[in-house]
């Protein structure tokens, strides 16, 4: 009887974690779609790394490990980092990739220094902060699921409300501007939604690998469809799948970090999609090539025969 109750409690914890990871995967997959289409995959990486010092500073200022406070710190730092990158590109002659590199490593380095300092102070409270580096889905509680659900939900609703405007921004910025849409404001809006998706995932997946959660589901989804709405739904689905899969695998064996496991699951989906998807898949291309070659050969043979006659 006692064993059974432990088992059900375990299952319940696992279920909460799985739900959290699934929501997370869905939110980051959806918003990551735009990041991929805008060729801003690396921006996600910069944001997640830039968020790290925000977590440390939030902890130093409040002494609290409440997820919402740490997430808020992460969001502010991630957002500042993004604004720095966009401003550097606009105001100087430094190119986008260099600006990304500079901000990513500076913020991340600063974050690591702060974390080390916090650890040195021997604050008993600090133990959980490392979570944000590599992620630990096992620490997801009901309250975290609620946070992910509500904030992620808000981000997705905002994206849906401005669906037409954001699509136009991503497809043809110049035309959007000529119609009078404020493209800089829309750009900041879209980036802010991306920041929300990223900081929500830091606890479970970690700063180092979070960008993969944005990019991988969207890249996989693009292989299967040529329609934006379908691509987003698929990306959400793939993200959720990777989240649940990674959580279950990492919970079944001890001491496997969840973040990397989730990312590896997402990678499997990407690999599968790149090889097998119709039209865009490698296998499909190979078959089409063979078929074309065969058809041409037949045609060539006929031509040859007709010449003989």
């Amino acid at each position: 009887m006692e064993n059974l109750s432990i088992l059900t409690r375990l299952d319940y914890t696992l279920m909460i974690v799985a739900i959290g990871a699934a929501l997370l995967g869905a939110v980051s997959g959806t918003l990551g779609t735009y990041a991929v289409l805008r060729r801003q995959s690396l921006l996600g990486d910069a944001i997640s790394h830039a968020a790290l010092p925000g977590i440390a500073i939030a902890f130093l200022l409040t002494g609290s490990k409440t997820p919402l406070i740490l997430v808020l710190g992460a969001a502010i730092a991630g957002w500042l980092g993004t604004l720095f990158i966009l401003s550097i590109v606009r105001l100087t002659r430094i190119k986008y990739d260099s600006a990304l590199g500079i901000i990513l490593s500076t913020f991340f380095g600063f974050g690591l220094v702060l974390h080390t300092l916090i650890q040195r102070t021997g604050n008993a409270n600090q133990a959980g902060l490392d979570t944000f580096l590599f992620g630990q889905a096992a620490t997801i509680l009901e309250s975290d699921v609620l946070t992910i659900g509500i904030l992620g939900g808000i981000a997705i609703v905002i994206m849906l409300v401005f669906w037409k405007e954001l699509k136009l921004l991503v497809f043809d910025e110049g035309f959007a501007a000529s119609l009078g849409f404020p493209i800089r404001a829309l750009d900041i809006l879209l980036t802010s939604l991306l920041v929300i998706a990223i900081v929500l995932g830091l606890q479970a997946v970690g700063a180092v690998l979070m960008s993969a959660m944005l990019v991988a589901p969207a890249v996989a989804a693009r292989q299967w469809t040529d329609k934006l709405s379908v691509m987003m739904l698929l990306a959400a689905g793939f993200g959720a799948l990777a989240g649940v899969g990674g959580t279950i695998i990492s919970s079944s064996a001890s001491r496997i970090p969840t973040g990397p496991t989730i990312v590896l699951c997402a990678t499997v989906v990407v690999g599968f999609s790149i090889v097998l998807a119709p039209n865009r898949g490698l296998l499909w291309n190979r078959l089409r090539y063979q078929r074309n070659k065969r058809n041409l050969k037949m045609l060539g043979g006929q031509l040859f025969q007709s010449e003989e006659q």
């Binding site: 289409l37 060729r39 002659r93 409300v161 401005f162 669906w163 037409k164 405007e165 699509k167 136009l168 991503v170 497809f171 043809d172 110049g174 035309f175 959007a176 501007a177 000529s178 119609l179 009078g180 849409f181 693009r222 469809t225 040529d226 329609k227 934006l228 379908v230 691509m231």
Partner: protein
């Protein structure tokens, strides 16, 4: 009446500089309503920049642009724009009809989605450019000429009075070029003003009734017969024009 004398586009003392070097220097341009005007000039002459400055997409260092006597911001609804084909990612997951309907987004305003009316307008525009068979075609599967016609259709649904087009003939075959020219001339017959960035000096006299010669400064602008002279061309291209006009 003043209305009959109104200029479709009036550019005064326009100077644009991205870095230190000016891209456009003190440019004036008056375009009367109902003309088909081509902007020609060598690479780096500022043709695209001029179009973008008229549309308020680049901020000028000095100067002024008026569309029918009002600033562009007040006249967006009567201006249609065809950007260069190469400025967008044609692998974007969407189809032809969807792209054409984007031309209605300005009139729709915030948040409202395109509906049946927009769909019908888009279909009509696609018929005009001979692309009605391609409505559900993925845009990644279009040829260069088809992409260009999709962009034209998108501008047509804007139902504008003034059209600004950046190299609509780039990379299209002779048949498509002919079809596009016919379309532009039809627009002119309806009293619309069409400004086209153009590269092929050989066809200027055939296709257009007005021309602007641009090389950072405005060299000349006016009716083709008076403006498109060997002398002006030499000034524009620095004597590097190997062939002469008819």
């Amino acid at each position: 009446m003043q209305a009959s004398e109104a200029k479709a586009i009036e550019v005064t003392d326009l100077t644009v500089a991205y870095q230190e070097q000016p891209v456009l220097w003190d440019v004036d341009l008056d375009v009367p309503p109902g003309v088909l005007l081509s902007i020609v000039g060598p690479n780096g002459a500022g043709k695209t920049t001029l179009i973008k400055a008229i549309l308020g997409l680049v901020r000028p260092a000095a100067g002024n642009v008026l569309i029918y006597d009002k600033p562009y911001e007040a006249q967006r609804r009567i201006v249609g724009y065809v950007p260069q084909r190469g400025t967008v990612d044609w692998d974007f997951p969407t189809n032809v009809l969807d792209v054409v309907m984007m031309g209605r987004y300005g009139a729709l305003g915030w948040v409202r989605r395109p509906g049946r009316q927009e769909r019908e307008l888009a279909m009509q525009a696609l018929e005009k450019v001979g692309m009605e068979a391609y409505t559900t075609r993925q845009i990644s599967q279009l040829s260069g000429g088809q992409q260009q016609r999709v962009f034209l259709a998108r501008a047509l649904v804007q139902d504008a009075t003034v059209y600004l087009m950046d190299e609509p003939f780039q990379g299209v075959d002779a048949t498509t070029e002919r079809a596009i020219v016919t379309l532009l001339q039809e627009l002119r017959e309806k009293g619309k003003t069409v400004v086209v960035v153009h590269h092929d000096l050989q066809t200027v006299t055939d296709y257009f009734d007005w021309v602007m010669l641009l090389n950072i400064r405005r060299i000349a602008s006016g009716p083709v017969a008076e403006t498109f002279t060997p002398e002006n061309l030499r000034t524009t291209y620095g004597g590097r024009v190997a062939f002469m006009t008819k």
